[in-house]
Symmetry: C2
Subunit: 197 residues, 2 copies
DNA sequence: CCTACCGATCGGTAGG
DNA sequence: CCTACCGATCGGTAGG
């Protein structure tokens, strides 16, 4: 009995996330969408107001997932390196658990109209600041190297966790935890062998 | 006299790279393109065979730039860490020098038809292998840590250099060399302060 | 949720 | 390189 039917609106969002991520927003027609749901193109408008509403809600949903995962970490009292491990894990997990909407988020946000577009830009800043604060804290308390460029470090971390949407395969060899630990190990300790060997 | 006119075909490619990167492939119409060149939509077909030809050539051009930058490094005799620095610099420089076509490359290749699509997938593998070989060499000769996961390391490096297309601004505060050195410093030495302090 | 339809726009072509 | 046009398809609506 896994046949419990989701609300129609939710089904539409799920299919839209999948098609937008596979083909892109502009290459997906409302008729494509309707076809996957077994209805006619015009019937979609009984449930939604328009195509862009779908994009807006997918993008907003994804950014909220990131927010919920990361901002509860903000004031947690942990050593900077452990905090970074946990943040990277949560960040990657959001991507892994929402491959479709995360892909739409990273790929299609430029097609939003002015207002939601500006919200994404503002949101990106908050995430940037989250990682900069995390790094800055680690530098201040001596966990991280004193000569770190905080912006560059945050940028490198974000590159690692964001780029996962292009290559990660849920159900594959690596769990989100595996990826996070591998990346964090390398970022924290570096690739170089110790000087003494 | 910087008014030397480029060949029309090249102008079309330049404008197409810019519009495809700004708006996306499907959201750019042939009439948009023609308008920016001061001609009518139909007139484009005196110079090109179709819209997808433009996408194919932009994508192919970008991948060739990466090839030329990286593959001459393949058999150069350098310590692995220096080789990595140089590879990252060249990789980032290709992105920085070709922001438009690099963006199209990373963003729009999924819209290619079967054959050029498969070429991009195959190309990506060669780049992946390039970085894995570089890391593996460093592990073998003791430059890099013996416990490195080669695939993960290559993946992390690629995340850093590829993601630059989303944030780098040519002519801004940082040169491609700056970014490459910052990233390589952090990747090679890690973020952690030394154990003794 | 369907049928039937709207005006607009798409990539591309014919003929000059 | 332009004018004029093609069939196809787009997002969306009216009326039921």
């Amino acid at each position: 009995m896994t046949e419990t039917t989701k609300p129609r609106r939710e089904q539409i969002h799920d299919v839209a996330s999948r098609l937008f991520s596979e083909r892109g927003y502009h290459a997906t027609s409302m008729r494509d969408l309707a076809g996957q749901l077994g209805m006619q193109g015009g019937s979609l408008y009984a449930h939604i107001s328009g195509k862009e509403e779908l994009l807006v809600e997918i993008v907003r949903g994804a950014s909220q997932q990131f927010d919920e995962a990361l901002f509860s970490l903000r004031d947690v009292n942990l050593p900077a390196d452990e905090k970074l491990r946990e943040a990277m894990f949560r960040h990657i997990q959001v991507v892994a658990d929402n491959m479709d909407s995360a892909t739409v988020f990273f790929h299609e946000w430029k097609h939003l109209s002015a207002e939601p577009y500006a919200q994404v830009v503002a949101w990106r800043d908050t995430i940037d600041i989250f990682y900069r604060d995390l790094v800055a804290q680690g530098v201040r308390d001596g966990t991280f190297r004193a000569d770190l460029d905080v912006r560059a470090a945050a940028n490198l971390i974000l590159s690692a966790v964001n780029w996962t949407y292009t290559w990660y395969r849920p159900g594959g060899r690596l769990s989100p935890r595996d990826v996070a630990e591998q990346f964090a190990d390398m970022l924290l300790s570096g690739l170089m062998a110790g000087e003494l060997q």
